[in-house]
Amino acid sequence: MKSLAELQAIKDKMKNKVVLREGNNELRVVVGMATCGIAAGARPVLNTIVEAVNEGGLADKVTVSQTGCIGLCQFEPIVEIHEAGKEKVTYVKVDTDKAKRIIEEHIKGGKVIAEFTLSDLK
């Protein structure tokens, strides 16, 4: 080890790999992963979200986790966004393309995509 910069490089490389364990994120993305969700294609959605969060350098702000059946099986895959101090947003019938847009527009841009939400579908 010759310099602090060298140490910083290792730290930057590793940070994304341990940030998962800090659990102090303000924003949680929850994917419904019960049998109904998985059957409707929740796994590729979850993986897409995890990848997009990591590639976008959002891992220290955003927690991606999963939950069981929410009870709206016909609307699966369901993705919920919980943000501190804001109302929960529920996206329904999400696919990988929608997931990418949710990350881009909602998580990064802060804009709720109304057309993907439950209320609009109804």
């Binding site: 080890m1 590793m14 341990v18 364990r21 659990g23 994917v31 995890v50 990591n54 939950t67």
Partner: protein, 605 residues
């Protein structure tokens, strides 16, 4: 892409309750469910809640599973990792009952962890102790880097002094001051020594740091080396800590490979090397001069001071010796500043202290709390209270060198000076909780037996004095003591304290003195009434059967190992069978009969 981490405790406690098999089971099941790309299994150090081990934590949600067995693993993988449904029956709850809202139970929400402030243990149970990269990700070696590139040795000593950090091994000597005594001494070689010969019965915080965050110690010792001008360091670890030794050795090897030990660290021209020496199980080697004698290859015996180690220590060279927990605070003090550290704790005791909770308490394990937390908070809120709803009687701090805090002082704010004021000692942080069924004379005798065994024999007050103390205590617990014996006991205690060569002898009488101070009436009951109020000292007990209550089932007689219980010809009114009686001459007072008696007719007096 990894979306979830499964952390499995690999500390000594959980390893002995089967965490290795659990790790294997996770690996096979994760593969079987095709989750290898998405879930990572990490072996960590101790989480602290050893009584509930083996423990498993699943991130990102931080779900805390306790008492996991290898058979539970498939369910956790299939339900939680694959389908996102937490396995409710395994989730830890403070009350021990199943929790209604499982989504709310994360590790940080439990009463056990909520009041803790983890500085020393911050990485224990969070990172993989065998990965130097994970340590670096948690700001590891940044303190060393800053010290070597931006600070002078004087700056380092000043920040440690200003923080108010005091030695965590028991004595509470100011760490910065210790370093400043050694730094100006000129010599061709100086040493930094870490005392990891944790010998107090029931204390295991140093082991947890070594097992859970070994790089922290490596980093801190290099910082100390720079501060005092030493290029060599020794860690003296007990050989009874095999996992700790293995992980520390790996940490040293990895640090060397990264150039964080060795020559010209961070291009600063500073060289530092670290070696491990194993202790052979002698308690006295936890005393600083005996420890150094042992590293030198001699029989571990203390030597008189002065000269102090700062002048003439290891191999006759100026040496700084600190305990593991003391060192573990150093990197954080450098990174976050003296003011941050000094903001925690009390006026004269800064920072946090790790306690090993043991004895009659629900949550046995390790807790790290700010100095000045009351004993009541530690026992009832963090420790979850006393099993069976029994009353708290006393807590022993500092193991065989410490004293007891009685129930009347339960609101004492625990720090160095408050404990010294009531005749106790912080010690290394063992905290043994005792309930109403504990005999204080018997407890003092237990610790005396330990020090008699462990006295190295070099000086007479300790070698002979502690033995005589034990004999006096033995007489008292057997009902052969007199009131004069109590006075003699007290006199001898003070004599040993004043005349012993090292800390072992000087503190060995503390358990006796403290119990005499707070529980003198128990000693008096043993010698005057020939009774043990707690019902522990067997020679002072008699077991009797209340013939009116006895239903004559004969269960006691069948279970008596020495056939001391016989049938009489008395039939109590309202009963059909003749009652039984105990032959006091044959009775060995094992208490088996009492445990078996359904009508509770057997009494112990």
């Amino acid at each position: 892409m990894v979306r979830s981490h499964v952390l499995i405790c690999g500390g000594t406690g959980c390893t002995s309750s089967g965490s290795v098999a659990i790790q294997e089971a996770f690996k096979t099941n994760i593969e079987a469910f095709g989750l290898s790309e998405e879930v990572k299994v990490v072996e960590t150090g101790c989480f602290g809640l050893c009584a509930l081990g083996p423990v498993v934590i699943v991130y990102p949600d931080g779900t805390f599973y306790s008492r996991v067995t290898a058979d539970d693993v498939k369910e956790i993988v299939e339900e939680h990792l694959l389908k996102g449904r937490k396995v409710e029956r395994l989730i830890y709850s403070d009350t021990g009952e199943e929790v209604a809202d499982v989504t709310a139970v994360a590790l940080s929400d439990t009463a056990f962890y909520k009041s803790q402030n983890r500085v020393v243990l911050r990485n224990c149970g969070v990172i993989n102790p065998e990965s130097i990269d994970e340590y670096i990700a948690m700001d590891g070696y940044e303190a060393l880097g800053r010290v070597l590139t931006e600070m002078t040795p004087e700056d380092v000593i000043k920040i440690v002094s200003d923080s108010g950090l005091r030695g965590r091994g028991g004595g509470g000597f100011p760490t910065g001051f210790k370093w400043s005594l050694c730094a100006p001494n000129k010599a061709d070689q100086k040493y930094v020594v870490c005392n990891a010969d944790e010998g107090d019965p029931g204390a295991f915080m140093d082991r947890s740091v070594l097992e859970g965050d070994p790089h922290c110690l490596v980093e801190a010792m290099a910082i100390a080396g720079y501060a005092i001008g030493a290029t060599e360091g020794y860690v003296y670890v007990r050989a009874e800590y095999p996992i700790a030794v293995k992980r520390l050795q790996k940490a040293i090897d990895d640090a060397r490979e990264y150039g964080l030990l060795g020559k010209n660290i961070f291009g600063s021209g500073f060289d530092f090397n670290l070696h491990i020496r194993l202790g052979a199980g002698a308690f006295v080697c936890g005393e600083e001069t005996a420890l150094m004698t042992s590293i030198e290859g001699n029989r571990g015996e203390p030597r008189p001071r002065p000269p102090y180690p700062a002048v003439k220590g290891l191999f006759g060279k100026p040496t700084v010796e600190n305990n593991v927990e003391t060192f573990a605070n150093i990197p954080q003090i450098i990174l976050r500043g003296a003011d941050w550290f000094a903001s925690m704790g009390t006026e004269k005791s800064k920072g946090t202290k790790v306690f090993a909770l043991g004895g009659n308490i629900n949550n046995t394990g390790l807790v790290e709390i700010p100095m000045g937390t009351t004993l009541r908070h530690i026992i009832y809120d963090i420790g979850g209270g006393i099993p069976g709803g029994k009353a708290f009687k006393a807590a022993q701090t500092g193991g065989p060198s410490g004293g007891c805090i009685p129930a009347s002082l339960i609101d004492t704010e625990v720090d160095y000076d408050n404990l010294t004021a009531i005749g106790c000692m912080m010690g290394s942080g063992g905290l043994i909780v005792m309930d109403e069924d504990t005999c204080m004379v018997d407890m003092a005798k237990f610790f005396l037996e330990f020090t008699v065994d462990e006295s190295c024999g070099k000086c007479t007050p300790c070698r002979v004095g502690t033995k005589r103390l034990l004999e006096l205590l033995d007489d008292i617990t057997k009902g052969k003591g007199t009131l004069e014996d109590i006075d003699r006991l007290e006199w001898l205690c003070n004599y040993i304290k004043q005349n012993s060569l090292c800390g072992l002898g000087q503190t060995a009488p503390n358990p006796v003195l403290a119990t005499l101070k707070f529980f003198r009436e128990e000693y008096v009951a043993h010698v005057v009434d020939k009774k043990c109020p707690a019902g522990v000292c067997k020679d002072l007990l008699t077991f009797t059967i209340d013939k009116e209550k006895c239903i004559g089932c004969g269960l006691c007689a069948r279970n008596c190992p020495v056939n001391a219980i016989v049938k009489t010809d008395y039939i109590a009114p309202g009963h059909k069978l003749a009652s039984y009686a105990i032959d006091a001459d044959k009775c060995i007072k094992c208490g088996v009969c009492m445990g078996n008696c359904r009508p509770k007719a057997i009494e112990k007096i």
